[in-house]
Amino acid sequence: MMISRRTTLAALAFSLLAGTALAADTIKIGVNEPLTGAFAASGTYVVNGARIAADEINANGGVLGKKIELVIEDNKSNPTEAASVAEKLITSDKVPVLMGSWGSSLTLATMPKLEEYQVPMLVETSSSGKITTSGNPFIFRISPPSSVEADAFEPIAKKLGLKKVDFLVINNDWGRGAAADFSKMLKANGVEVGLTETMDQSAQDMSAQLSKLKASDADTIMVTSAVDQLTLLFKQMAALGLKKRVITTGGSQNPDQIIAQAGPAADNTMHLTTFLPWWPEKTPNPEATAYFLGEWKKRGFDFAGATESFRGYDGIRTVAAAIAAGGGTDSASIQKGFWKVDMVGLNGPIKFAKSGPAGKESGQSKPNVYLIEITDGKVKQVQLGG
């Protein structure tokens, strides 16, 4: 008993140490994403995007004369695991910088570890306001929190002439945050806000909430959720004969997947999105977009995933830019480097502005936000000229 216990532990320790730093001529980037569990599909897309960026950077000679190496770990869509994974990447794999962790609760769980080990992390997807306002100077975020998205929506709201808006949001930080921030912005612009309904993140039947919304006198429903639930919502709206203006927020819509799976039920819905893979020439960085989409296609991935995975691609390119700008491969240099990043990502300029309590600010970049509409099974950009 005693012997076997000791050998098991020794074997365990050995197997973990064996995986660490064999080559010092690469720069490691830890990637902490959900690859199993509830968010497996999205996490996998982000990782695939990250791999494209790493290969591209290495093909062009790497950073500071060294190749970069992604150390990818699965956080199982579970906050406890996300914190453990951060610990493993930092202490066992000795990565000087991280990217992660898709969901806000996953990212929040890793943040104490960043402070403990003084390692910076690029946040590619999470939207909770708390991430950049709680005074963690190791956080650099390229995804928009819902307040940034709401600000970007302000001129669009005026053009659309909204009168009264109801909300239907996923019952987590993302949905709740969106409902709060958009309500505030709309009220400030004289738009009435009616109901705010929530749905569980794994719910499949939303007919009760939709029936209630159908009976309301609002002209527009703003919806925040991920692509799978949006698909179901549009189908169920059609089944209930609910015909109001629908605008989705949050940037996880994958409009092509919605069109493929919801069919005509998706027609005339509007979506706030941060990336326009349909028209590479219209994006802020057409060259990079074309390269990314070409590579995405070459590797046999589904086009519909591009709106999710581009964040992984931009994330790794931002990390590489920070390493180059900081001039060193240690965490402190990379942290300084993040503040000097000034590049054009697939959805606009990436440049970090200070956010949160003075002296301990996090970095927040402000991406572009676009409004698109699905018409006759095609995606079209809503032009809000002048």
């Binding site: 497996a40 309904e197 499949q204 909430q209 692509v227 179901l232 209930l240």
Partner: protein, 290 residues
């Protein structure tokens, strides 16, 4: 008023699917005394079997449906034969844990094979809903409700009107006596688990096209199924059917008129209330675990 009518109609449709989810689980628990933690995974399996048959093989929707159900039947028989039969004499916690292990393997295997991205199964029904006065209903939901009622009726008839059903009921009453009377109890167990699995797969195959098919689809379905079985009383088919409709009405009206955030709590609050008033559940005699 119009809103209320629509809520009632929604609850009827949802209740049919909930009942279908519940009866497979209650059958296996009642007859075999096994807490089937693969129920959700079998539901997911039905969804993917439907996807493979209808999309990958290109079969007609109405042909693919029975194919998926039969696949669930065979998988259920296989699980019973390999995992439960050797543990016949073990206690309920051991078999429950083996089922948890099997459920983990099935769900992770699905994710590994198909990936996490949702799959859609097209249906031959028109997208335009059927509008009756102030309420509307999609044709596919109508079909699902009809199929669910038909499957429940077939199961009920099988249990109450056939020789197999009589043997199953005898085993439910007292498996030792049933064995003495010449019932092949091993075969009854395999048949019971296979039928329960086929019902779970049927639910997944019917609802996969209505919703989307994902490796996680079974998780919430399993939680609902447990609630339904509890509401109806363990081991009772008519109880599970009524339990399914009660849960659907509670959720639908709770979300419509109280709070959508507490929608999924409604069923459980009813359960606690029911057990306070009538501790044996609504429709069945008391059961004991262990």
């Amino acid at each position: 008023m119009d809103q209320l009518l629509q809520h009632i109609l929604n609850a009827l449709v949802l209740g049919g699917t909930y009942a279908l989810l519940g009866i497979g689980l209650t059958l296996i628990f009642g007859i075999m005394n096994v807490v089937n933690f693969t129920h959700g995974a079998l539901y997911t399996f039905g969804g993917y079997a439907m996807y493979l048959a209808a999309v990958a093989l290109g079969l007609n929707f109405f042909v693919a449906l029975p194919v998926a159900v039969v696949a669930g039947l065979l998988l259920g028989a296989f699980i019973e034969f390999t995992l439960l039969r050797p543990l016949r004499r073990s206690d309920i916690d051991t078999t429950m844990l083996v089922m948890i292990g099997a459920g983990i393997i099935m769900q992770s295997g699905t994710l590994w094979i198909f990936g996490g991205v949702a799959k859609a199964v097209p249906t031959p029904f028109p997208a335009q809903p059927l509008v009756i006065g102030p309420v509307s209903l999609s044709y596919v939901n109508l079909f699902v409700l009809g199929s669910a009622i038909a499957l429940i009726a077939i199961t009920y008839f099988t249990i109450n009107g056939t020789r197999l059903g009589r043997a199953m009921r005898a085993t439910f009453q007292d498996h030792d006596t049933a064995a003495l009377m010449g019932v092949n109890v091993s075969l009854i167990y395999t048949a019971t688990f296979a039928i329960g699995s086929a019902l779970a797969a049927a639910a997944g195959a019917l609802l996969g096209p209505v919703y989307v098919v994902t490796p996680q689809m079974g998780e919430l379905a399993a939680v609902k199924a447990f609630a339904i079985v509890i509401l109806g009383g363990l081991g009772s088919i008519s109880g599970a059917t009524i339990g399914g409709f009660i849960l659907a009405f509670a959720e639908e009206l709770g979300a419509g008129y109280i709070s959508s955030g507490y929608r999924d709590a409604m069923g459980f609050l009813i359960i606690i209330a029911v057990l306070l008033v009538k501790p044996t559940g609504l429709f069945a005699r008391a059961e004991r675990i262990g």
